[in-house]
Symmetry: none
Subunit: 244 residues, 4 copies
DNA sequence: TATGAATGAGGATTCATTCAT
DNA sequence: GATGAATGAATCCTCATTCAT
């Protein structure tokens, strides 16, 4: 429940004059993420952002050039932060399903704690044309690649020949072959996660870990298994993703 | 007397003066959906919409009041159309998984055929504040309810006691009990579908049926089954969702 | 001393609403020429122009697109007006020197009556980059061509062999040969005229006809002749250029 | 310690800190003339000037007070330089026409070598209101006076009675009498020179001396003489204006 | 001497919206 | 029913100029 420092600074920042540039820039980005996340890119006004940042508009332009550049800077910063949060939440020495679970938990936790940032990444950036969408697409592809790799790792962990019989005559260890299929799956998983993020944040009493569990049930066990009483569960007693 | 080309509506309708109001309104909505879908809500200008509709701006205001109202009207019309398309694509007498498959097929087909409408619903409406987001949320909830009901039906079709053992001591026929869990699953499924819609439309050579199949594999069989060689498949030879 | 109608309209125009577009456009151009001529292109503000024109700023943009376009429209209108004034002031059946004299008179008269227009053409347009300078260059070239032709006509009227002996072995009737020389002369003449225009307008008591006479002395007779008592004079008693 | 390239003054002066004020000021004026000449007064930004001068903006203000003052300083410096160049190019012991020729040659040479300075004097200063225009007018009057005096000297050198017969009953040696006429002539000559300067600089292959020759032909011999085969020529074999 | 940090003021441009016919 | 004419209110962005060190 502790808000990270930068979210605080954007709000209560005493209008201390003459701060070093790097600091001011972060304050501006904080304010911009807030405003962009809440109003949307186009509806956000540079005036409002400058005011929330506690500086004059020209300074925003001096440091960040233009509304587009400011938005891009927001996207980049938040994309990086999200990817790092997910990575940090995963212990790479665990089995694939555990890694996925932890990653999802970290993802839900981070997006839950930074709703404006999530709005910027998930909604605003994708709604306003190539320059911005491309920025998120890059991040999304990073995550999709991460997930894809987990899925393939999971496949390798499962009985190779079992997988092999489904796609007869193909080496399941070859990561390239079911590529389009896997891409679709990863896409679906990430989409489901994005969607659940909104749901979890909007539904009171749903924790990131619960949301991650739900999605694992859905994704790993599948509805079919689930209905037949084989829900997914972490293998040992779960210490949980080590995120706050 | 032939009017110059410029005054012909770009939508293909000849600008015969004095059309019945209902027709004109539909032309305006057609134009609006196109512009909103392509430019985004804020970037869309009433000028452009009026021009594309082949009418003068005051007429747009006369019929539809304001930009907000126009946008809302677009959302409502397209939401209704999408829900109807999905409903129409499902034969209610089939088993739950088949119904789900057909529904997904219809969904991907409709969104694929109406990309601007889908952009309005999926991106624009959610990106521009409560009044509009609420409108889509209503539609979404309708679909989520539909899916929830299918999931529960599926559970009922599967062995009751098997499901029961997962959540020991609970009556699986009681649709309320695992409510939150099921709601989460439905949410995830719908989210995955929404996400795949964008992916399928953007990836050449992926048909609605393929997209539906990918998602069924993911959702029904689960990644676990999939990796062990048990993909989901329609029970008999599939005639496919009867969508165009 | 009578100001042309359009100069009046720009000023005292009663703010009669709802005028036809063509009229409003002229009012805007009148205002723009005034402001551009007095303040300069960059220092002129669209606000001020709109106010002087008696309309709101958006209307100026609706009709004339942008400051650049507005400026260009001013240049074009005034360039055309100036060229027409000069042409109208010349009777083509007179000898070359008389034509030149009349043309100069018309030029000084027109620039004297429209100082803002002259400032736009002579100063502002040339000071603000290619798009605009090119516009005036076109006009200037038209005038230079006109003058060049008069010079050559004058040469033909004078003893051909006399001219021929100066540039031995060349056919004086061939208009191409001393091209660069003639271009330089025309350039100098026009430059002298432009410069005298400012001088004549700034020196009280100097009429356009006097200024034209001075320049004819300078250009046609040359300082050398002048000093030796052979000033240029119209051949018969001069009725003067028939300009107001 | 070598400073990074970016902090090297673009004018070629290494940015050694703590320069004597006079030097720094000249660097600033150099930069300002360049920027003003190329961008125009209004479009020139103090930022750009400071950067080109290799100093910080506050220093420019410390030394030169304001944009207006800076511009004025540029005008003054360049006006002085131009007048000096012309004076230095003239040997006062030659006949009037030779002096004129040399002066013109020096003028074309100097403006050709300092196009930005010439742009500042000829275009920018005149285009931006009284305070600046007055500054150039002063210089111009100095030159016009110089030329006027040459014309009168030329008249005195020519046959007094010849001149006298043109303006019968007036003493040609009285420098005041044809005053207005002579002023007009000088004005025209200077204007022609200014105009030719731009033309000569823009026309490749035209040297200062050629430009001076063209103008002497025009001004001294006059078009009439020229057409009758009596071009002006320096009396003896010309050593040329002794300018660099 | 020299500068990084900061801003008040203003300019071009666009847009949703409304009269008057 | 339909439209040409018109605008109030913002929005992005830039610039000359000044502190505080």
């Amino acid at each position: 429940m502790v808000r990270p420092a930068r979210t605080l600074s954007a709000m209560g920042a005493v209008k201390t004059k003459r701060m070093p540039r790097a600091v001011r820039e972060q304050q501006m980005l904080d304010a911009a993420v807030r405003i962009f996340g809440q109003r949307g890119y186009m509806a956000a006004s540079m005036d409002e952002i400058a005011e929330l940042a506690g500086v004059s508009k020209p300074l925003v332009y001096l440091y960040l050039n233009s509304k587009e550049d400011l938005f891009t800077a927001c996207i980049r910063r938040e994309a990086k932060a999200l990817v790092e949060a997910v990575r940090a939440g995963v212990r790479r020495d665990l089995p694939a399903d555990r890694q996925l679970w932890e990653g999802l938990g970290a993802f839900f936790a981070h997006t839950g704690e930074n709703p404006d940032a999530w709005s910027v990444l998930h909604l605003q950036a994708r709604t306003h044309g190539e320059p911005f969408a491309a920025e998120v697409t890059a991040m999304r592809e990073e995550i999709v690649a991460f997930v894809t790799q987990l899925i393939l790792a999971g496949a390798r962990e499962a009985l190779p020949q079992a997988f092999g019989c489904a796609r007869a005559g193909r080496d399941p260890h070859d990561p390239d072959l079911p590529e389009r299929e896997v891409a679709g799956l990863a896409e679906a998983l990430v989409g489901a996660a994005e969607s659940l993020a909104a749901w979890a944040n909007a539904t009171p009493g749903v924790t990131p870990r619960q949301a991650a569990g739900t999605l694992m049930n859905f994704a790993w066990a599948g509805l079919g298994d689930l209905m037949e009483g084989r829900p997914w569960a972490p293998e040992e007693e779960p210490p949980g993703p080590h995120v706050a």
